[in-house]
Amino acid sequence: MTILSIFDIGLVVLILAVGAASIGMREAFSAVIGFVVYGLLLSIAWVRLSAVDVALTEAAIGGGMTGMLMLGAVARLRFAKGNDSRTSLPVRLAAGILCALVAAGLAIAVLSPPEVIPTLAPMAMENLPQSGLGNPVAGVLFVYRALDTLLEKVVLILALLGVWSLAPDRMWGGIPGLRVYAQPNSKLTFLAQLLPPVGIVVAVYMCWVGAKEPGGAFQGGTVLAAMWLLVMIAGLTSVPSISQRWLRLLLVAGPMIFLAIGIAGMVLANAFLAYPAGYAKPLIVAVEVALTLSIGVALGLLAAGPPERVQRP
């Protein structure tokens, strides 16, 4: 038993304990705090699984953004009339047995891998030079399975539309209900002035480095979103109304450019979402830059919620 495997066992125990606590806690606030900690622990697990790209995404989105959304919701729900009646014991018992069965089934599947483990890694690496990329995960996302990535951006836009559509009719075109804590010269203002330049540099770096090392549009976009939210919460910039044309353009710019390059591939290369030989890398970088911006704006607006205030003239 090496030090590393002891570390792994400790990590797994910790993950399960924190996860169980955040399910079982009585108070919602503690549960959410538990969940944020859980997200961070999980990203360490992803590093141990040699998936640094995923670790970055999990830390940024799974722990960070999701945790922030839930904390905001808990704060608003604090005075809501909850449902005191907990599920009855027989139901919980039955559910427990069912869930144990599912977990056991998965465990059996995990414990019985095929004798020769099939993999696409060699094939993915072999074809990677054609795209000029160095990061195989970026290769999968933007070259081999570009269709999934493109459509998943459409999913993000739809989710945002779904959130917006929850606004009351008269608020349509208004300003998202993000809580703003604008106090001039407070410490928050100071942070919101100091951090964003650094954050933007980090986001640009992540997006740029994603072509050859872990990083990319998602991670960069999340950092951008966080910076934008910080500046808005501190009241340094106003929250834009959802009917702003520039806002909507930014939101769809990424998927639009991706789609346009994909269609161009039908003429200039030999298939939809194929890149013309020799131009693959610059085109992919262009798509990534546009996607970083779109993802940043989309995540920020998803966190800001549906419009709740009418725009002042």
Binding site: I15, F35, M70, G82, V137
Partner: protein
């Protein structure tokens, strides 16, 4: 037992845990949290699949890793939509339950806009 199998079992346990929370917890926000836990367990299973298929000098198969990244973003979008729904429900009714009295909900659900 190697590291991949260990994390795979962790993923399986998390799926069971998340599913339990999703089914038994009456509060919508806690259901959403449990869904995220369940989701991360599923992603972990993907990660184990990737890790086991490591080859060509890579630490893992990049194809399932890329799939997880896609799925994490989708799960975040789902969480955002669900939370927006819960908050809107709170605004509309002052309550945040998926009230178990389905009869009351279905009686009025016939109304149309």
């Amino acid at each position: 037992m190697n590291a991949a199998t260990l994390f795979g079992l962790c993923g399986a346990a998390l799926v069971g845990l998340g599913l339990y929370g999703l089914v038994t917890n009456p509060e919508p926000l806690r259901k959403i949290l449990a869904f995220n836990l369940l989701g991360s367990g599923v992603f972990l299973v993907f990660g184990v699949v990737a890790k086991r298929a490591a080859a060509s000098g890579l630490g893992g198969d990049p194809v399932p890793q890329a799939m997880v990244i896609t799925a994490i973003v989708v799960a975040f979008a789902a969480t955002a939509m669900a939370i927006a729904l819960v908050l809107r429900l709170l605004q509309e009714t002052g309550r945040s339950t998926l009230s178990s009295d389905t009869s009351a909900a279905t009686d009025t659900a016939g109304a149309d806009s």
